[in-house]
């Protein structure tokens, strides 16, 4: 089979698999369904792995329906796979496989009338995400954006007995659909100007026009969808609401890879469509989005620290890390892209593993409340180890993939924005500190029992509907094996030198706009310039160790601080928390769960982005 046929197959295989599950699902026993869905997910992994291997350091281009352009003008849709796109699709497929394994025995009772529905939806979700990662056409990207959105809303609200998932899913659905429609409006504006729909084709035609309000408006509108999907502040409000309440396997996918697809969308659309001559200047893109990324990272980290609802804590940690990813791609250098790719790969494994262990807690105790679970995780020794290791990896402990990605990004940011080092170290330390704090309290019962006290609006996480019926059963082995494997994967990303090298080459390809355009019509010349270094350096290791150490210190202070009798420490804590409350409480109030607020913030975000961009071009 020619390499290019593997591209549409990555979408078609899961779709056909979903159909198969729906049709055959009602006649097959549970075991057969599980086996079938695992086989299908593995097939897609195999397809994408083959594609990764065959594409090598070039690009695979598939003109769907055989509509190759004649004299540079075509009517068809093109799929373009380079190693960043294919790698993200492969990451999706691997995570889907992990989730399928994790949920083997997860839902004790699938919907009785439709047993195959949950895995079928997971497979359609995979099709949507792979399609979005591999397409080279703006409208097609919108379609797949909506596909993954629609499935994600349904999956988030899957547990219909509990009101919170439903509310989260509704917020998620409304905000994301609205953003998608704004993107479509932007696509309409671009089509009106250029008469094209492909990324590269639009980019080529934009070069013939001057830079004006239309370009700025189209740029901001088109990026609305990916920005909301990526939960960049102030578009991030839906994310904690949805990710905190979705069924655990779905959380693993949402936080692990769907949000990152938003970042990918921003980077891909900017590089292929807007980065050319008469486009949005790189300096403008860089300054704007580094600022937005830093804001997102800080908001996410601060809010993450405040949470006692474990899943909400992990969701806000995702917001924080997404801010770092956005900074990475906004540096507009191959090094930034390579670092982000490594970071995303490591983060996906770590975050999915953390959610998976939280799912075990929910399964055992029907609660994800840090206070309520105090000391109750003691008998779950392996879970505790995994959770702690996950927390350390989140802080960027070498040699995890997260640490390597963070190190490369820090190095990339250092020359132009030295202050970003503080953001990187601080955000990793604070998010990881929150996770470690929870690990110490829940799995070790460390420190004094946390006291209930009113600290502003919050979601506690107690009284969750358990996602399974029978809490007295033993923990199903896949539920702990899968997070262990995922953490090993995150470790492998950092340890295996090949991955870093290949992603460095891929990043150089990703940032080569001319090569992308040329690849559509024939073999493209290899990009010039050296590919960025993506190995471990002494500086990267020490920064990783520093953030890990900081994370341990803040976690220890939070857990044992109240028990320390010293007056000075006590007074310092009081002042710190008093000032913190003045800043943090208004921030917490903003996360109100109110759809109207979120829509307002969406409009405000767009307005700010418009003004900021227009001021710089």
């Amino acid at each position: 089979m020619p390499t290019q046929d593997l591209l549409p197959l990555a979408v078609a295989v899961p779709l056909l698999g979903a159909v198969l599950l729906v049709v055959a699902g009602r006649r097959l026993p549970r075991v057969a369904i599980d086996g079938l869905v695992t086989a299908l997910a593995a097939a897609d992994v195999a397809d994408l792995a083959l594609l990764w291997a065959r594409t090598g350091d070039g690009r695979s281009v598939a003109w769907l329906g055989g509509w190759r352009p004649v004299h540079g003008e075509g009517v068809g849709i093109v799929m373009v796979g380079d190693r960043i796109g294919i790698g993200l699709a492969l990451l999706t497929a691997v995570l889907i496989l992990a989730v399928v394994g994790y949920s083997w025995r997860y839902f004790e009772q699938p919907p009785t009338e439709h047993p195959g529905t949950f895995p079928a939806l997971i497979l359609v979700f995979e099709a949507g995400m792979c399609g979005f990662a591999l397409t080279g056409d703006l409208f097609n990207a919108f379609v797949f954006f909506e596909l993954m959105g629609a499935v994600a809303y349904a999956l988030t609200g899957f547990r219909i007995e509990d009101p919170r998932p439903l509310q989260g899913a509704l917020t998620f659905g409304i905000v994301n659909s609205l953003a998608a429609y704004a993107s479509l409006l932007g696509i309409g504006l671009l089509y009106a100007r250029t008469g094209e729909l492909g990324f590269a084709q639009i980019g080529q035609h934009l070069a013939h026009h001057r830079v004006d309000a239309l370009l700025v408006a189209a740029f901001v509108l088109v990026l609305t969808g990916p920005l909301v999907k990526a939960a960049v502040a102030p578009f991030h409000f839906w994310l904690p609401d949805a990710h905190a309440v979705a069924p655990t396997p779905v959380c693993m996918l949402l936080s692990g890879v769907m949000v990152e697809l938003g970042i990918y969308g921003i980077a891909r659309i900017y590089w292929t469509v807007f980065s050319g001559p008469h486009g949005i200047p790189m300096a403008c893109f860089r300054d704007t989005f580094v600022a937005f990324g830093a804001l997102t990272a800080v908001v996410g980290a601060v809010m993450c620290w405040q949470q006692r609802h474990l899943k909400r804590m992990l969701a806000f940690s995702t917001v924080g890390h997404v801010g770092l990813f956005l900074i990475g791609v906004a540096l507009v250098t191959p090094e930034g892209v390579a670092g982000t790719a490594l970071y995303v790969a490591g983060h996906a494994g770590v975050k999915a593993a953390l959610f998976a262990v939280t799912g075990v807690l929910l399964d055992r105790h029907g609660s994800v409340d840090e206070y309520g679970l105090y000391g109750r995780g003691r008998e779950l020794r392996l879970g505790g180890v995994l959770f702690t290791v996950g927390g350390l990896a989140l802080a960027g402990l070498p040699p995890f993939g997260t640490g390597l990605g963070k190190a490369v990004l820090e190095h990339a940011a250092l020359s132009r924005f030295p202050w970003l080092l503080v953001v990187f170290v601080g955000v990793s330390a604070l998010t990881a500190g929150a996770v470690l704090r929870a690990a110490a309290r829940v799995f070790a019962g460390a420190g004094p029992r946390p006291r209930e006290r009113y600290a502003g609006p919050e979601t506690t996480g107690g009284g969750e509907e358990p996602e399974i019926r029978d809490p007295s059963r033993a923990v199903p082995p896949p539920m702990l094996a899968v997070p262990a494997v995922l953490l090993l994967g995150a470790l492998a990303v950092g340890v295996l030198p090949g991955i870093g090298r290949q992603l460095a080459l891929a990043a150089r390809l990703f940032t080569d706009r001319a090569g992308y355009v040329a690849a559509l019509y024939g073999p493209a010349p290899a990009p010039s310039g050296a590919s960025p270094a993506t190995g471990w350096t002494a500086e990267g290791v020490s920064l990783g160790l520093l953030s890990t150490l900081l994370a341990l210190v803040v976690a220890a202070l939070a857990v044992w601080g109240p028990a320390v009798p010293s007056g000075a420490v006590h007074r310092a804590r009081e002042t710190l928390s008093a000032t913190g409350r003045r800043v943090v409480l208004p921030l917490r109030r903003l996360h109100s769960g109110h759809i109207g607020d979120y829509v307002s913030w969406l409009a405000v975000g767009l307005a700010v982005l418009l003004v900021v961009t227009a001021a710089q071009v």
Partner: protein, 114 residues
């Protein structure tokens, strides 16, 4: 006239957003989302209109006829389907939310905050 249709599309989006911001009922919010979405149809089809053009199919008209842009119509068609299905999905969520939460007034949906 030269930009009037595009402005109408923008107005529809903004008024839909306004309705969502002021909404007191989740079903109403979803309805406003449908309104906001119709702005995309209007913009797309306005972009594709061509003076003196007629619709792009040739079963009852010669091949040489001037036609309007068919691509935007195909896009709008896809968009209509997407909008309808997403609306249905959101309404399904609203039904269950009302059952479990007792209300769909955004002001009273306080399960998630902080």
């Amino acid at each position: 006239m030269s930009v009037f249709p595009y402005l109408v599309a923008g107005w529809i989006l903004l008024i839909g957003l306004y309705g969502m911001v002021r909404s007191r009922d989740a079903i109403h919010t979803i309805g406003c989302l449908a309104v906001a979405q119709s702005s995309t149809y209007v913009l797309l089809l306005a972009v594709g209109y061509r003076r003196g053009g007629t619709s792009p199919y040739f079963s009852d008209t010669p091949k040489s006829t001037t036609v309007v842009d068919p691509v935007v119509q195909a896009l709008a068609l896809t968009d209509v389907v997407v909008g309808a299905t997403v609306t249905a999905l959101l309404l399904a969520l609203a039904i269950q939310l009302r059952k479990r939460h007792g209300t769909i007034d955004p002001d009273s949906l306080t399960g998630l905050k902080g």
